[in-house]
Symmetry: C2
């Protein structure tokens, strides 16, 4: 097989060259993995809601739970995920723990998402 080296049209030649070039300059696997892990965090409506309400002010777990109509446990689990991704930080005040946004990119990322959705036909 492969006895007849077919002549590709010009367009394909260009593309083939680009593929070869890209092949050597792709970021490493680790980077893509970490990026996708970060976006997975945004890929849950409960977590998006939590981030959204934290846009306004820091808030304790029970307030967030009440606001979103969910159990404290569920919110706590999700806050842990957000904490691990360094998207939220917290401070303790007596029995209460106040959470707040830990990163300015969060606003931009969610903002871009909203733009994308609202610009659709």
């Amino acid at each position: 097989m492969d006895g007849f080296p077919e002549m590709p049209q010009e367009e394909e030649k260009v593309n083939r060259a680009l593929v070869t070039e890209l092949n050597g300059s792709l970021p490493d696997e680790e980077m893509f993995y970490r990026l996708s892990e970060l976006y997975k965090v945004f890929g849950d409506s409960t977590r998006i809601k939590i981030l959204y309400v934290l846009f306004e002010a820091e808030m304790c777990v029970c307030d967030i739970a009440a606001l979103l109509g969910m159990t404290q446990s569920a919110i706590s689990h999700q806050l842990r995920v957000l904490k691990q991704s360094q998207l939220v930080k917290f401070r303790r005040d007596g029995k209460t723990i106040y959470y707040s946004l830990d990163d300015d990119h969060v606003r931009t990322i969610i903002g871009m998402g909203i733009e994308h959705l609202t610009e659709e036909a």
Copy 2:
């Protein structure tokens, strides 16, 4: 129960008011759902890689598959997801189908993600 209306400290009063205020002005459920669905698309390293290689140029399915070292089928499945979210578009040229980015926000969103990752301690 609730026989003793305890007096909360001032800080909590303020927070309580904010929670009440937020409660009325939250975007609807649908919007949070759609946002999270969008980010779910970014939450897979295969799809991130596909978007990344499409930064450079339009590309056909087999090129993407070769570049990422995956089967055509797997790539095709993921392209369908990207298509449904209107993140990529395609054009047919004979037997070949070329995919390309359909939205400028993709670059910004991924850019913010990379910034977030690189800014960590």
